[in-house]
């Protein structure tokens, strides 16, 4: 249980880090600290607080939070190594540790190379994967996951739900990639009005920035459609399963919030707080969709990982018997 709570803390701190990263981009502060890993020549943790001015407040704070999250993830990986019996969950710990180290290096490279778009976009995209991995660890170490949501039996093997939930998660991630590309190529206001585009449904003229911006808007519609389909399926077929309908409902709420924030980002001419909230809400949409997807695939994940033999470790045999009794 303590490991699970710690994993939740790591996931939350990663969300805070993504918000801090959004602030750096939104305020144009990415190069306000020209050196890395030092800060104006100081060792990062000895940089004087009274010199945290202007854009440095955002960039240096982002670096401090990133270092803290990196350390938290290191502890998480070690803890999983020592205490987690499932090998595939331990592997998630190693993967997230490697990912966060890579993420830190990408962050340094993008500063030293003056924010080249591909590196900055890769930095933004990998951040979401690190967040997803911390979410996956928090979920798979949760008591609910281990007990297979006791009292209700294992999640039914609903292939349609598995497929549309997976598709939704993948599409949300693709949408985030498009959004990161839009942010880092300065295309956030390429279409200055909302909900129309230059007063029309389709932009009357095109250039690469308008195209990437419009793709992000179309992507929002596609994601919303898939999220509605997933949620509809859950509410119609699995309304007695709170572990499924809760994330489904949350997904819809977050998508509504995200579209509102996207509109406000344009209408406020990219206010840095709204813009950053849009980034972290996007990450939350992805995390929620991932949780739903993993829960629909819990049985196949355990079977794939060959962990069914360890069911007794978590007392699953009790829940399965219970489910059979109902059947």
């Amino acid at each position: 249980m303590r490991l699970h709570l710690y994993a939740v803390l790591v996931a939350l701190s990663t969300a805070v880090l993504i918000f801090a990263g959004g602030l750096v981009t939104s305020t144009g502060s990415g190069l306000s600290v020209p050196d890395w890993p030092t800060t104006y020549g100081w060792f990062m943790f000895t940089f004087p607080l009274d010199k945290m001015v202007g854009g440095i407040r955002f960039e240096h704070t982002h670096r401090l939070i990133a270092s803290t999250v990196g350390f938290l993830i290191l502890v998480l990986a070690v803890w999983l190594r020592l205490a987690e019996p499932r090998q595939w969950v331990r592997r998630l710990g190693y993967i997230v540790l490697g990912a966060v180290i890579t993420q830190g290096i990408l962050g340094g490279i993008t500063v030293l190379w003056f924010l080249p778009d591909p590196i900055s976009i890769a930095h933004a995209s990998l951040a979401q994967l690190v967040f997803c991995l911390t979410i996956a660890i928090a979920l798979t170490t949760s008591p609910g996951w281990k007990r297979a949501y006791a009292g209700r039996g294992p999640v039914p093997n609903d292939r349609i739900l598995q497929q549309i939930a997976t598709a939704t998660t993948v599409l949300v991630y693709v949408q985030i990639l498009v959004g990161a590309t839009m942010r880092h190529t300065d295309a956030g206001l390429a279409i200055p009005d909302f909900p129309l585009a230059f007063g029309q449904l389709i932009p009357p003229s095109w250039d690469p920035k308008i195209a990437i911006h419009f793709a992000h808007r179309v992507g929002a519609l596609v994601v919303t459609t898939f999220a509605l389909a997933t949620t509809g399926h859950v509410f119609y077929h699995h309304r007695t399963r709170p572990e499924l309908w809760r994330p489904s409902a949350l997904l819809l709420v977050l998508i509504a919030l995200q579209i509102t924030l996207g509109a406000l980002t344009v209408l406020s001419h990219k206010h840095y707080i709204i813009n950053s909230l849009h980034v972290v809400t996007g990450a939350s949409v992805l995390a929620t969709s991932l949780v739903l997807t993993l829960r629909t695939r819990r049985g196949s994940l355990d079977a794939l990982a060959g962990s069914s033999g360890r069911d007794e470790v978590y007392g699953l045999h009790r829940d399965v018997r219970h489910a059979r009794g109902h059947a």
Partner: protein, 254 residues
């Protein structure tokens, strides 16, 4: 286990010591490359000049007060206004005027005296200026706060240097002609400056009343360009005779 532990701890210690040793800010003094000696091709007996002014038609937007609360030091320096349009006596200041074409293959000596770009009162001084390729540019921090000086050229090498302490200097040499190279401070997002990098000394920046003066021009026919940070560029052709000083004016419209 201890076999690996000791080298790892030693490496960690080295990294930490290295980081701490770098603490306290860095003095940057990149040495400029020496300019090759070139004889001055301008004959003072025949050289002419170009004088004129930059006019502005229309009413420029009122200067806005800049919010500088993000740095208490900058805020204490008093109120600062946007400087996109500085108009005096009907003339537009901070316009860069230069010979764009007409000098052929002439080579000119490169001054060794540095041009100084000062960060003072959380603004750049000057905001618009010119320099010859190969001439040292000395960037100075006169403020008791941090600045980063970030140049964003298209044809020269981009650089971004931190100046954490008052009095720090960084010398940079642009190697290729380029009009204009923007500078910005990412710490203080209101700080902007532009430099015109040329292979010759025939440039000026309009001052009070929009006046400018380019001297020692060899006789010839030239394309003259005027650049403004918001209004773009205008060009005119002018022919200078021996010992002749031509009047030239540009009018930018809003």
């Amino acid at each position: 286990m201890t076999t690996y532990l000791r080298p790892c701890l030693a490496l960690l210690l080295l990294v930490l010591l290295g980081s701490i040793a770098c603490g306290g800010g860095s003095s940057e003094n990149a040495a400029p490359a020496p300019a090759a000696a070139v004889a001055d091709p301008v004959n003072p007996e025949t050289a002419g000049g170009l004088k004129g002014s930059i006019k502005l038609e229309g009413t420029p937007p009122a200067a806005q007060t800049i919010n500088r609360r993000s740095d208490p030091y900058c805020e204490q320096q008093g109120e600062a206004k946007t400087q996109n349009f500085i108009v005096s006596n009907g003339g537009l200041e901070n316009v860069f005027i230069y010979v764009k074409d007409g000098l052929g293959d002439m080579k000119f000596p490169v001054p060794t005296m540095p041009v100084v770009l000062d960060q003072h009162g959380c603004t750049y001084a000057p905001r618009v200026f010119g320099i010859q390729a190969g001439q040292p540019l000395e960037i100075l921090n006169s403020d008791e706060t941090l600045h980063n000086i970030h140049a964003l050229p298209m044809n020269n090498r981009e650089f971004n240097r931190g100046q954490a302490l008052k009095g720090l200097k960084h010398t940079h040499v642009f190697t290729t002609a380029e009009v204009m190279v923007p500078f910005k401070c990412d710490v203080h997002n209101w700080m902007n400056a532009w430099v015109g990098v040329l292979n010759h000394p025939f440039y000026a920046v309009s001052g009070s009343g929009g006046a400018f003066d380019i001297q020692r021009l060899p006789p010839g026919t030239y394309t003259i360009e005027a650049w403004h940070e918001k209004l773009g560029t205008q060009t005119q052709t002018v022919t200078i005779g021996p010992k002749e000083t031509k009047e030239l004016s540009f009018t930018f419209k809003l």
